[in-house]
Each structure stands twice: as structure tokens, then as C-alpha cells.
């Protein structure tokens, strides 16, 4: 029993170490990526552009639900006018970065892992090495940086669409005053404390999710079962990482220490 516990501990440390080395090699690929923006563009397309539709629809509905739920509670206190503040603050600070990160992990992270894992299983990566092309720089780095670039943009789209959805329900359906909706929002939300911190959060999430995704793909067993397991691990681990990091970042940014 102790042997197995020790083995599991050592294995997880070993994986963390391999992951960190892998991240270092990926980050060194930044010059390759900068030299060939076409590679980055194609990856931003498959990681970011194809996720926009999902993000937009989810953001719209999350914003609408927030407005509906918030209205029923706020109207008990006669404070319907603060609906805009509630919708915007919860979207910009928490839901925007977190929910779009979870969707991003499910939509783009899993695809990245499966793609790289299959490339490994069909020995395309070994083939590249034979031709003296570094697969980390040619395959992994563009995908990684595409994810880091796309994530904040996706979160911003999510929050924007969500606030517009909240406006649609709050002002359009429930009859909250249009001026109060926007002016209270502007009076309460701060561009540095709220908007900028939201962007920082989504940058961190994008970094961690794509790191996990490309590493799991690259590190997967080169069999169909191995690839499927790696894909599952990507989604589970990135969801965990996002939720835990969100707590830590919130405590750092909005806490009083």
C-alpha cells in the first residue's frame, strides 16, 4: 500500500517536472511563431474563431438568466435599478472568465489534445523529428500561443454579449429603467479593479488550459485508448485548475490582503 502511495506521489511529481520542461521548450518557440504568423493565424482560427459561436450563445443565455434571477431577488428590496450592476459585476469579475474558460477547455482544449495525441500515435511527430523539424516549435508552440491569445478575447466577447443579454431581459422584458441600468453600472464598476482584473484572469486561464491540453496530447500513450484518456484528463484537469485558480486569483485581487 505504502509502495503504491509513494509511486503515485513520485509519478505526479515526475509529470509536473516533465510538464514544466515542456512548457519551457514551448515558450522558447515564441521566435519561431513570430517568424511565421501564418501558423499562428491558422491555429487562432481553429482554437478561437470556431469557439466564438459557442461563447456568444452561452454568454447571451447566462446574461439573460442572471437578469431574470437578479430581478426577482432585487425587487424584494425595491432595488431593481441595481440590476445592471449585478449583471455586469458578476459577468466581468467571475462568470465571464470562468464559464468561457470551462467552455474553452471543453471545446478547444480537448480538440488540441486529441489532435496532438493522434499525430503522436500515427508517428507524424517522430517523422518530423526525422526531418530535423522540431515538433514542439512547429506543432505545439503555435497552438499554445493561439490559445493564450484567444482566451481573453473570448472572455471579453462572453461578458459583452452577457451584459447585452441582461439588458435585453432587464430593460426589454422586465421594465428596468434604461438610464439607471447603464449609469449605476458605470458608477460602480472600475476599469482597473474589475475589467482589467477580469482580463488578467482569462489570460491566466488561457495559459493554463492550453498548457495542460498540449502537454497531455504530447505526453499521451500513442494508442487510441491513450489518446482518449489524455483527452478526458485535459478536460477534467483544466476544469479543476480553472476553478482553483479562480479562487486564488479572486482572493489576491478582490481580497483585503
Amino acid at each position: 500500500m505504502f509502495h503504491r502511495l509513494g509511486e503515485a506521489t513520485l509519478n505526479s511529481f515526475e509529470k509536473l517536472g516533465r510538464g514544466s520542461w515542456f512548457l519551457w521548450f514551448t515558450l522558447r518557440g515564441v521566435f519561431e511563431v513570430a517568424a511565421r504568423p501564418g501558423l499562428l493565424g491558422a491555429q487562432i482560427y481553429s482554437v478561437g474563431v470556431l469557439t466564438v459561436m459557442l461563447i456568444t450563445v452561452s454568454g447571451l443565455f447566462v446574461g439573460m438568466v442572471l437578469a431574470l434571477q437578479g430581478y426577482t431577488i432585487l425587487s424584494d428590496f425595491g432595488a431593481e435599478e441595481t440590476l445592471g450592476v449585478m449583471v455586469a459585476a458578476s459577468l466581468v469579475r467571475e462568470l465571464g472568465p470562468v464559464v468561457s474558460a470551462l467552455l474553452f477547455a471543453g471545446r478547444a482544449g480537448s480538440a488540441l489534445t486529441a489532435e496532438i495525441g493522434l499525430m503522436k500515435a500515427t508517428e507524424q511527430l517522430s517523422g518530423m523529428e526525422m526531418m530535423a523539424v522540431d515538433p514542439v516549435k512547429r506543432i505545439v508552440a503555435p497552438r499554445f500561443f493561439a490559445g493564450v491569445v484567444s482566451m481573453p478575447l473570448l472572455a471579453a466577447i462572453f461578458s459583452t454579449v452577457g451584459i447585452l443579454g441582461g439588458h435585453l431581459v432587464g430593460v426589454g422584458m422586465l421594465g428596468v429603467d434604461d438610464g439607471a441600468f447603464w449609469s449605476q453600472m458605470q458608477a460602480t464598476l472600475d476599469y482597473r479593479d474589475d475589467i482589467f482584473n477580469g482580463v488578467v484572469k482569462s489570460l491566466v486561464f488561457g495559459f493554463v488550459i492550453t498548457w495542460i491540453a498540449v502537454f497531455e496530447g504530447y505526453d499521451s500513450l500513442p494508442t487510441s485508448e491513450g489518446v482518449s484518456r489524455a483527452t478526458t484528463r485535459t478536460v477534467v484537469h483544466s476544469a479543476f485548475a480553472v476553478l482553483v485558480l479562480d479562487f486564488l486569483l479572486t482572493a489576491l485581487m478582490f481580497g483585503d490582503f
Binding site: 491558422a42 487562432i44 478575447l153 461578458s159 476599469y191 477580469g198
Partner: protein
């Protein structure tokens, strides 16, 4: 790559959407568009009690916001709270020297803000000046306490 041109266009559109969203959040949702925090001039005011006033609380004249509270600290010699306000430079040389400052609450439970009331003096407040006449925040517990004591006094003489 056949669709390379379309891919580039779509990536451009995506980046445009994302940056547009950020711009919308900064200008329409937050306070970046309405007031620049580094512009304007500073005034100081001393209060016995500032209640729930916080940095970035609004400073208003006749209900119009002309600035924000930039800092609050405690003067250990005078035993008073010192509130530093940054007033928009649009309103420079418009507040008379005998302007008074009071701390009000918007609504019954709303946030607290500073209301300035212009006086009649000919000279105007300048950068770094102090507002002489101030009225502290009303603390709800104190008012209730006073009310209860006055009621108790009414009952006593039998």
C-alpha cells in the same frame, strides 16, 4: 491551404470582435469613459466622522458629480478624518472659498457621497486648498440613540 484567405479574414474578424468587446467593457460598463482619475485639482476637507465614505466615492454639487474622493486618512494630532477630493478641471475656479462640504447617503441604504454647497465669497478654491465648513456623516445608530434618550427624558418626570 485553399481557405487561407478566408481563415485570415475570419481571424481578423475574431480579433476585432474581442477587442471591440474589451473596448465596450471599458467605455460603456466601467467608469473609464466618464472621468479621468489623474486630471483635475485636489481639495481637502476635515470631518469628525466620515461614516461609510470610501476612496472613489462621488463628490457632487447640486447632485451633479464633479469629482471623486481620492484618499482618506486620519490626522492623529487633530483627531479628525481628512478626506482628499480630486475635482475635475472643468470646474476649476468655480467653487467659492466658503463652500461647505457634507457627507450624505444616496437613498436610505445607498452609498455615501460628499455634497458641496457653494457659498457667496468672491475668491475661489485652488489646488490644495481646504474646505473649511464641513458636516459629518449621519450615523444611524447615533440618531436612534439620541431619539431613545429624548424619549426616556420625556417619560421620567411623573
Amino acid at each position: 491551404m485553399q481557405h487561407s484567405k478566408m481563415v485570415t479574414t475570419l481571424v481578423g474578424f475574431f480579433v476585432f470582435l474581442g477587442i471591440g468587446g474589451l473596448f465596450f467593457l471599458a467605455m460603456q460598463v466601467s467608469n473609464l469613459g466618464s472621468f479621468d482619475n489623474t486630471q483635475g485639482y485636489l481639495l481637502q476637507a476635515r470631518f469628525e466622522n466620515i461614516g461609510g465614505l470610501k476612496p472613489r466615492s462621488p463628490v457632487t454639487v447640486s447632485g451633479v458629480r464633479i469629482g471623486r474622493v481620492s484618499a482618506i486618512f486620519y490626522d492623529t494630532e487633530a483627531y479628525q478624518a481628512v478626506v482628499e477630493m480630486r475635482i475635475s478641471s472643468n470646474y476649476e475656479h468655480t467653487l467659492p472659498e466658503d463652500t461647505s462640504a457634507s457627507i450624505y447617503t444616496s437613498g436610505l441604504l445607498g452609498e455615501q457621497y460628499i455634497g458641496l454647497e457653494p457659498g457667496g465669497a468672491d475668491a475661489f478654491l485652488k489646488d490644495g486648498d481646504e474646505v473649511e465648513f464641513t458636516q459629518s456623516a449621519l450615523v444611524l445608530e447615533e440618531i436612534i440613540g439620541k431619539f431613545l434618550f429624548s424619549k426616556a427624558d420625556e417619560v421620567k418626570p411623573e
